[in-house]
């Protein structure tokens, strides 16, 4: 099956990247924050395989730590949006009526705002930081998850096995948990994987604009911004974090594509 091979490739790259991020303190040859004035913008060599940046910091070590931050932001924001979005979608799609209208129209208002504008306005109010970036990205994703789950729930709720479960005396809660959620969750899971990839890009964009993660915490977006200032003299300061972002996005997309073949044959999440 092509789908499972794609999913496997995505999952494998992702596992390697995540492991590298998690083990950053062990793997990093240098401290990500130690400044060495004798190594300002020195290219890749044996002791610093990815070279060093404008402050003489080791790019490899910083990429490892930054990946950890960015992965945390991506997974955190997607999980937050997935949990709340799934709950709202379940309620809206199963009970319909007034609850459906209230929930979905409120989410439509979120959807109506351009994603970055929404994030920027939120951060403008609260000030930047890792947690705010997570919440901002989750807010962008929330209506997407809710709509996907609702669409799947509307389809599942009309299935005879739902009526059958009710006829056996199951409560609404038991039906939602036991039949509707398991049958309606696939498309949301596929979308979660795809959106986790894009979360890297949003995090990078926000940090690049100075609205995301604050220094000295290393993030891939911040590294791109720093490297961009010295791009003409030191390509390595920008290219390596760029490759890390690209790899993460690609592996999440592969995983999502592969999962789609198995979990969402009807293509609700597309």
């Amino acid at each position: 099956m092509r789908g499972s091979r794609k999913a496997l490739a995505g999952a494998a790259i992702l596992a390697l990247l995540a492991l590298a991020g998690l083990l950053a303190p062990l793997l990093a040859p240098h401290s990500p924050e130690s400044i060495d004035s004798s190594r300002v913008l020195v290219g890749p060599d044996v002791s610093h395989p990815f070279g060093s940046d404008a402050l003489g910091r080791d790019v490899l070590s910083r990429v490892l730590y930054a990946f950890r931050t960015s992965l945390g932001v991506a997974l955190g924001s997607v999980s937050l949006a997935l949990v709340i979005g799934t709950l709202l979608g379940l309620i809206a799609g199963y009970f319909r009526g007034l609850a459906d209208t209230l929930i979905m129209r409120a989410l439509d208002m979120l959807l109506a705002l351009p994603a970055l504008l929404l994030a920027i306005s939120l951060i403008a109010i609260t000030g930047p930081g890792v947690w705010i970036v997570i919440v901002a990205i989750a807010l962008i994703y929330l209506p997407i998850f809710a709509r996907i789950v609702r669409a799947a729930v509307v389809r599942v709720a009309a299935e005879p096995y739902v009526e059958g479960a009710r006829a056996r005396g199951a409560s609404h809660l038991a039906v939602l948990r036991g039949h509707v959620l398991p049958n309606a969750f696939g498309p949301a899971l596929v979308q979660a994987s795809v959106l986790a990839g894009f979360a890297f890009q949003i995090e990078a964009a926000l940090s690049f604009l100075g609205l995301g993660v604050r220094p000295p915490t290393p993030s891939l977006g911040l590294m791109l911004y720093d490297g961009y200032q010295v791009l003409q003299q030191a390509w390595w300061a920008d290219v390596f974090p760029g490759i890390a972002i690209a790899l993460a996005v690609i592996s999440f997309l592969l995983l999502g594509d592969g999962l789609r073949a198995r979990l969402d044959p009807r293509g609700i999440a597309s």
């Binding site: 479960a165 199951a170 036991g178 039949h179």
Partner: protein
């Protein structure tokens, strides 16, 4: 006392009147067929008894199961009865089982919805039930998901779920419609056997008069939401008195029909949002009278045989 007593039940959705003034009783251990064309309210009747009509439905009249008046119970009280005292076999066995879970675990869930037993105990009973409904090698097949079951086997599994808590009343909505003829016969024999062994009363909803004649004690004929004829299966199907039942029975194709001579009923089923005020069949009835614009009563025409038709009423008066 009847096990199920439906008294003057009317169900409407907005302006659409799906059932009007339907009264029907089912005795313990009895199989009663409910027949009629698509959209005549057969399924609505089953769902009304289960209390599973959508909230938009307006229900009038009374439904009693034993001594409990179902129409006066709250949702939580109804829920305790569903599956335990009355069970529903929903239409279409192909989609009546959750594709995510094994057959066995769905029967276990049905058992544990009411009985406070361990998973192990429930699972033992589930395998027993699956063998009872005729699934060979039940212990092994219980671990398989519905996709690996054929239509007939799924219908058996659905019936096993319905029997999980030994209900007194089983409502089977078109249990054989999606099955081919040989499997149909097996499922009917299974349903008949349940009544024999367990004394379960069964409301068998079907549009197929042949199916009903095979297992039913009594048959009720619905037309456009109105009960038109009710009585012993042999009388209603062999000596029907209502013009609609007569037309329905003669429309059943038999092997001695000459080719190309299928009988149909002229006209079409009335729009239930704008049904005729009296007998709803009057617009298509070959022997309609001016009187038919008023609702006829159900009148006895023999032992356990009632008909709602003005011709009968006039005959009795005469």
């Amino acid at each position: 006392m009847s096990l199920l007593a439906i008294e003057r039940l009317s169900v409407s959705f907005g302006t659409v009147s799906a059932l009007r003034d339907v009264s029907l009783a089912i005795e313990p251990g009895e199989i009663v067929g409910v027949a009629g064309e698509s959209g005549c309210g057969k399924s609505t009747l089953g769902l009304a008894v289960m209390g599973l009509l959508p909230p938009t439905a307006r229900v009038e009249g009374r439904i009693a199961l034993g001594e409990q008046s179902l129409t006066e119970l709250r949702e939580s009280e109804l829920r305790r009865l569903r599956g335990r005292q009355m069970a529903l076999i929903v239409q279409d066995p192909m989609t009546a089982l959750d594709p995510c879970f094994s057959i066995g675990s769905q029967v276990v869930d049905a058992i544990r919805a009411h009985a406070d037993v361990s998973r192990r105990e429930a699972s033992r009973k589930a395998i027993e039930l699956l063998s009872e409904v005729g699934i060979p090698d039940a212990a092994r097949r219980a671990r398989e998901i519905p996709a690996r079951f054929s239509g007939g086997m799924r219908q058996r599994a659905v019936i096993a779920c319905a029997l999980a808590n030994d209900p007194e009343l089983l409502i089977a909505d078109e249990p054989t419609t999606a099955l081919d003829v040989t499997i149909q016969a097996q499922v009917l024999a299974l349903i008949d056997g349940l009544r024999e062994r367990r004394g379960t009363a069964i409301m068998l909803i079907s549009h197929d008069l042949g199916v009903l004649s095979q297992v039913c004690d009594r048959v009720a004929i619905l037309y456009a939401g109105q009960l038109v004829e009710l009585g012993a299966a042999s009388q209603v199907l062999e000596a029907p008195r209502h013009p609609y039942t007569q037309a329905l029975v003669s429309a059943v194709p038999t092997s001695d029909h000459a080719p190309g001579t299928l009988t149909t009923i002229g006209g079409r089923v009335p729009d239930l949002a704008d049904a005729p005020p009296g007998c709803r069949f009057s617009e298509r009835c070959p022997v309609a009278l001016p009187l038919c614009s008023e609702v006829p009563r159900m009148l006895p025409v023999g032992d356990e045989h009632e008909v709602a038709c003005w011709h009968v009423e006039q005959g009795v008066a005469r």
